[in-house]
């Protein structure tokens, strides 16, 4: 009862005040609207730091993951008995959910970016390792034999024949690893690793505009990096382009 009286009084004083406080004029973030354009255009700059952090997380993790996986693949290519244990080992790292991985590392490395980077690079190993091995396996025997017949050493065959021919598969692995890492890096926020997951965790699940912007940026980064890597791969392997077109 009391509140009604008060409201009426306010209404009389400030003309049309009560009318104004409907859902139409509430600040958009207090309503249930799907997307608040005004809020978005005013606050878009608060996503700059998380976005840059996110890119950094992904770039460092994928780079480390690629270097390690590539080195392992070269090893396994020379010593074939290493293949099954390495496949299983990287498979285990791939299977452990990232959120769990972050916190398994906690007693060793604490919260923060380092932990996130270790877990994310461990995740990429299997994808890149397996694709590189498939790439090597797909190199026609005849081409390797021809190179050997021309007097090339094992090292020359590896760098001049096998690697260029395995490039499409290696790049496909890099592409899949990069795109997945962008998506999974949103979880780094749980481990205090920053990135685009942070505004999501802070904003909670009720403010959709925030979720759409942060999630949307992550999705767009993933898609763009995927397309860029695809374009680079096409550029680096012109012979495939001709074959596919023909």
């Amino acid at each position: 009862m009391a509140s009604v009286t008060t409201l009426a009084a306010v209404g009389e004083v400030g003309k049309g005040f009560i009318h104004e406080r409907t859902s139409e004029t509430l600040p958009c973030q207090a309503t249930n609207k799907l997307f608040c354009w005004d809020w978005a255009s005013e606050h878009i700059n608060r996503y700059e730091t998380p976005t840059l952090q996110h890119l950094e997380l992904v770039a460092i993790s994928v780079l480390i993951g690629f270097l390690v996986a590539f080195a392992l693949a070269l090893l396994a290519h020379r010593h074939h008995w290493l293949q099954p244990p390495l496949l299983i080992g990287t498979g285990v790292l791939y299977t452990i959910p990232s959120v769990a991985f972050f916190f398994l590392l906690l007693p060793l490395t604490g919260r923060g970016t380092d932990t996130a980077i270790i877990a994310l690079s461990a995740y990429t190993l299997q994808i890149i390792f397996r694709n590189t091995m498939i790439g090597f396996a797909n190199v026609p025997r005849a081409v390797v034999d021809a190179a050997r017949g021309m007097g090339q050493t094992d090292r020359q065959i590896l760098w001049r024949v096998e690697l260029p021919l395995a490039m499409p598969e290696i790049f496909a692995g890099l592409q899949v690893a990069t795109v997945s890492t962008v998506a999974i890096a949103t979880l780094a926020a749980f481990a205090g690793g920053g990135g685009l997951g942070e505004p999501i965790l802070k904003g909670g699940i009720s403010f959709k505009t925030n979720l759409i912007i942060a999630g949307g940026i992550a999705f767009l980064i993933a898609v763009s990096l995927g397309l860029i890597l695809f374009a680079v791969q096409r550029y680096l392997t012109p012979w495939r382009r001709v074959r596919q077109a023909g």
Partner: protein
């Protein structure tokens, strides 16, 4: 001998194992008991239930479409685009957004998680069926098999490895993301991890260990099932 460097991790692991088996008093929630095997089993079953529901839903949606398109040999672009776009979906944003859009709880979260399972299932069903040797299909057709029989007796058995790779990817993605289900109101093992203020550091590590073991168990069980279902002829020539 234990080096000083290893002492803190080992102590943490001991604390985590204690947390799993014996209930303890939480120092934050005013003496409420946390941990212990009963709570672990409850949350484990929640996560397993959520994973199985979501996997089943995504299989029911994605596999018929993938199998049909693969059999017809059409829609390659569609299958590829879905598969690649699916990988780019940020899990955390998806769960939070779906919870905001359709609500929290097991049923809504099942739908949200199924979204993650659909892309790998659709792509792998398509690719698996599509890459089956055409001469095998022609032979089956020549023997008078109907299209459905060809799919069931020839194409699916030959595509088992690829189909299973899709099911395994979907399972890993779903069980991993079910870990963050507590943000959408379903208590899974991830609750131990996410709510450090309730369960303490021992609970966090215990949760991480349990989630990792759950994912690995599912993966190895599916791999074993796949070996049993793969026809002998395909096993002779391992990929």
């Amino acid at each position: 001998m234990i080096t000083p460097l290893l002492t803190p991790p080992l102590a943490s692991i001991q604390g985590a194992i204690e947390f799993i088996f014996t209930p303890q008093t939480s120092n934050v929630t005013g003496g409420k008991t946390v941990g212990g095997i009963d709570q672990v089993v409850e949350l484990l079953l929640n996560q397993l239930e959520l994973t199985i529901f979501a996997l089943a839903l995504s299989m029911v949606i994605a596999m018929p479409i993938g199998l049909y398109l693969g059999h017809r040999g059409t829609g390659e672009l569609f299958a590829t685009v879905i598969g690649n776009a699916g990988r780019a979906i940020p899990e955390l944003a998806l769960i939070a957004f779906m919870a905001a859009l359709i609500g929290v709880g097991v049923a809504n979260l099942t739908i949200a998680l199924a979204v993650l399972g659909i892309p790998p299932l659709l792509t792998n069903s398509f690719v698996g069926i599509h890459q089956v040797d055409r001469s095998a299909v022609d032979a089956a057709r020549g023997m008078g098999m109907t299209e459905l029989e060809i799919l069931r007796k020839v194409e699916i058995p030959l595509a088992i490895p690829t189909l299973f790779a899709g099911i395994r990817s979907a399972t890993i993605a779903i069980v991993a993301t079910a870990t963050i289900a507590p943000i959408a109101g379903v208590l899974t093992l991830g609750d131990f991890i996410i709510n450090q203020n309730v369960y303490g550091d021992n609970g966090v590590l215990a949760g991480a260990i349990l989630v990792a073991l759950l994912a690995l168990t599912l993966e190895f069980s599916l791999a074993a099932l796949q070996r049993r279902l793969t026809s002998k002829g395909l096993k002779l020539n391992p990929a």
